[in-house]
Symmetry: C3
Subunit: 459 residues, 3 copies
Amino acid sequence: MISLKSKLPWLLAPAAMISTAFGQEDEYKADYDALLADQVVDGVDYSYAFDFFTTSMLWTVIAAAMVFIMHLGFATLEAGLTQKKNTVNILFKNVWIISIGLLTYALIGFNTHYPGDNWQIKNIIGIGGPISELTDGAGNNSFGYGGMDLAMTAYGDFIFQAMFAATAATIVSGAVAERVKLGSFMIYSAILVAIGYTIAGSWHWGEGFLNKLGGGEKAFYDFAGSTVVHGFGGAAALAAVIILGPRKGKYTANGIKPILGHSMPLAAIGVFLLFFGWFGFNGGSVLSANPGPLGLVFTTTALAAAGGGVASIFTSMIVLRKPDLSMALNGLLAGLVSITAGADSVEPMQAIVMGIVGGIIVVFSILLFDKIKIDDPVGAISVHGVVGIWGTLAVAIFAPETANFVSQLIGVVSVYAFAFVFSFALFFIIKLVMGVRVSEEEEVEGLDVAEHGVPAYTD
Amino acid sequence: MISLKSKLPWLLAPAAMISTAFGQEDEYKADYDALLADQVVDGVDYSYAFDFFTTSMLWTVIAAAMVFIMHLGFATLEAGLTQKKNTVNILFKNVWIISIGLLTYALIGFNTHYPGDNWQIKNIIGIGGPISELTDGAGNNSFGYGGMDLAMTAYGDFIFQAMFAATAATIVSGAVAERVKLGSFMIYSAILVAIGYTIAGSWHWGEGFLNKLGGGEKAFYDFAGSTVVHGFGGAAALAAVIILGPRKGKYTANGIKPILGHSMPLAAIGVFLLFFGWFGFNGGSVLSANPGPLGLVFTTTALAAAGGGVASIFTSMIVLRKPDLSMALNGLLAGLVSITAGADSVEPMQAIVMGIVGGIIVVFSILLFDKIKIDDPVGAISVHGVVGIWGTLAVAIFAPETANFVSQLIGVVSVYAFAFVFSFALFFIIKLVMGVRVSEEEEVEGLDVAEHGVPAYTD
Amino acid sequence: MISLKSKLPWLLAPAAMISTAFGQEDEYKADYDALLADQVVDGVDYSYAFDFFTTSMLWTVIAAAMVFIMHLGFATLEAGLTQKKNTVNILFKNVWIISIGLLTYALIGFNTHYPGDNWQIKNIIGIGGPISELTDGAGNNSFGYGGMDLAMTAYGDFIFQAMFAATAATIVSGAVAERVKLGSFMIYSAILVAIGYTIAGSWHWGEGFLNKLGGGEKAFYDFAGSTVVHGFGGAAALAAVIILGPRKGKYTANGIKPILGHSMPLAAIGVFLLFFGWFGFNGGSVLSANPGPLGLVFTTTALAAAGGGVASIFTSMIVLRKPDLSMALNGLLAGLVSITAGADSVEPMQAIVMGIVGGIIVVFSILLFDKIKIDDPVGAISVHGVVGIWGTLAVAIFAPETANFVSQLIGVVSVYAFAFVFSFALFFIIKLVMGVRVSEEEEVEGLDVAEHGVPAYTD
């Protein structure tokens, strides 16, 4: 397809090099011979298995780094879409979330997320301990942990999943921005990510009850987490926002007063970084470097995002009568959430349609929540929560051989209900104990100076 | 060279693990044995081929993600180098371009870019259909698509090339910034990327006439697209800017009035992200993970950029009598464009020289275009168009065994002429139908409020 | 652990594809057979070695790109934590450093860093020449360069190390910000990175005397460079700051007057990008894609950062009585520096403790330097210099089987002393020749307008 003749000498060169390079062939050969001998067990050459595993594990850790950068994406998106006076506060919360998210996931989260046989309530709750219990085993060098199906070491599995874990709390962070009390949010987010997210996740990814529907024949299907990550975060955010109430001055007697974001470049940086990181989020969920699904997942992920972006652009042009940048940005994210549950199961053209529907839904959802006075400064409930439902159900619609509609519905209802109730109860208790909202004066002054003592910008 | 003795136990451990991990050796062995059996065809062990393919395909999708992030680089660079009042507009255009670029590339672009045998005009025009026609085949799992020469699946090929496609339109976006009508640009950019770019690309990468020069013996050589991507974008931008005219107040009776960019940090973020993404742009163009060319391409790419940066710094110090940051930033990009056509074909020291020349050219080119009143707010025509010529010809100068000077010239002339004419005609028709320039009042007010109804920044 | 049954058909498909795809089996088979034949030397199949090498080399270049992006991290962090009026200057210096750092590393640095047998003073100084002397060899295609222990080509080794080299100078850039003369800093940084950094590095990574302590039995251990990169930069920065003196108005008769950073979003972008890049910095230092150490290094790196972030948050809350964002950000970095020397040698829980200690140290260190009137606008001396000592010694404390405490101390003392003296002498000579500090008027006006003639932001 592409002319590569000029490259062939390179391509054919390597093997010949073995015996000629620097005249050191004997020394090198001894090295390789030792390694090659290690690949043979009971007379069978396992080098293929080891190579596939090595490449796959490399992809896992790179994908983990890409998911990590989504946290910068969330931080800048949230900061950009809110007021200048609350910027330090938002950035601080995001430093907190990634830090405490990684720590709690090591101390309790991972083993709660994947309980193995250690359920306290069979297939529903399996609170676990620190990862050292797991990682002390032999699974950290090679095949011993997941084999070829989960082609990574125990540490690889941990670090990739740890990067996901903090995401749920980050979604809430955006929705409660500009009026939540810092200390209260710090406690809330730590517990949400350590216990709430991991329990819900265990139902699906930890071989819990959602994975056992229909005796396992009709298991709930959520490839990279439309429901289990994004839906969980969106539903938790809704509960928190209901308890917290809207920002002062947003819903007035004279109607809704839009509160503009203070920096659209920051918001755009955030969305593009999220888009970039999503390739790791979805692509890494292949759980190996298997070329077939990897190529498909990258393609469906990108096309769904594009469909979402274009759909939001036109929907906002029609509905709002202007080309709205924040809607366009949320459209890209909506497309990404739309494909997250089924990225490995649909065709490219189906991915485009899924993204387009997500991009339309998100515009109406954001307008609707504003109408019912649910004040979500960044649209997180719509992007992650509402579109997450669509993405999850869409797998059953577009790929019925992969997912069962009823099972998808059961998954959505149970995860969303749990997230809502857990978040509501937790945030409510914190409200009773120490309050969750800053004073009216602090809100007017801005959280940066009120809570942190410094502004985000100086002249 | 580096002491690794302490790591040897790790290195030698894996194979031994196979039979010891968790005492599950038999279960795992059965797994691997099945996989290994699959790698043997007619008694020959193909695991090497599959492994090389797997690693190569992984690189392709990672490179695609890196090229994607170049779109954030373009967005922030363009926003940073223009006025505050047009920032939302620029960001919006970039969301549009990446979205519509991906969609049109799936719907028509890819199969136009690589027509195979489906030319309407032999080796010149081969408009194609949606990718599903291609990707329905067996090429999406393994070797069936490109083999070891194009070591990726059909989806891998698509997503990598799709990220390139939108680039051409993005280059134009910067040059026409601050006065182009949004709707007109949306239509223009969609057609440019869907049809214009892909036709020109098919001449070289789609096995068209540029690849057949001298009966294929003297094929035009453009490794990653100095001419086919950057030159195309630069020449198209020139045509659009000529039709559009300069920004109000730039060229006055009292001489040139510089219009400063509103945020140099945004501009710097843009250039560094472009530099980062260029490792995927050039490195991914190796089309496999072949260690030899991969190391060379990363090295020449980085060194040419460095040469360009240093050359622009000193050139601007001498010519402008001050160390100019925007020139330094454009110098890095000029170095990158300089090496893009020959990154796999020159030595490191040659790469430095190529970058230095590019870095000098770009300063004089930007000054020259200003002198002849071609108003390009971000210097895109110089960076991508003018330096693209240098980069393409430089391959023949520094690596005559790879490229023929006359062929390089034919390639430059035909692609640049086509891009210019296509862009001119398209933009001219749009001008006749709906206009291409905002009103003078809108330009003064800024496109953010005039076209989008909101400012990019609030206090 | 994770249900993958639905993916098994993909996983098992590839091999079967070989003989069925598009009916082109014979053509493809011939291709592969030729390649496979090339992997056999003297009757032994070397494909495993080549595959491991290919995957490892891919990781090396990706890691190099990730370390590259740390330079954007440094640029934005430094810009964010300083005043608006010096932003162009800081960005310009960072363009300079990455450019000149790459060039000098190619022209002299690499071969000074790794002298092989070409020492002028045995195991202490081995100034070398351009990389072409090295890269002309056969080491650029395959095993010939480093074999399986240093699984990369010569170019891979070069580009990865080149990205490290400029880091030392960048650390100084932050500490001397807002008052250093541009031309003086340009000369200083070029020499520091070309000669100073590479000599110190050769003692450890170039098989110099630190690698020979105790006859090699008690070699200094610094996995990815807590001392050799970060400590070097921090100690050099301290010397430069002492010569330069504090910013005007910082230390007054009425006490310390804090000079706030002008953009906390820029600072946060910087730190998150540094965190992201550190996965390449530490992960790439595995020097291969060996799954065991790779997973461990990613895990310890992330957990130490998280420990540092949380520790700084609570320390700042207690000591400063407010949740300080810049301390939180520096806490993440302190955690990363803390783990850099031992990322491959400690357990996850140890990594957390190491990060926590680093995060506590950095807060007190920053306060202490302010108390003794060492003015470091970004806290670079504390983050990289002081915490670098902790990170280096911590390996001996937590992993005594890997590192010897006395050797670690010898390493720290010799590298820090050399860096301090080299930097002091160099900067002092430059001060005598051309001065190192801008005039008081220029400092008040800001370096952007004074040195570069333009502001970083316009309205």
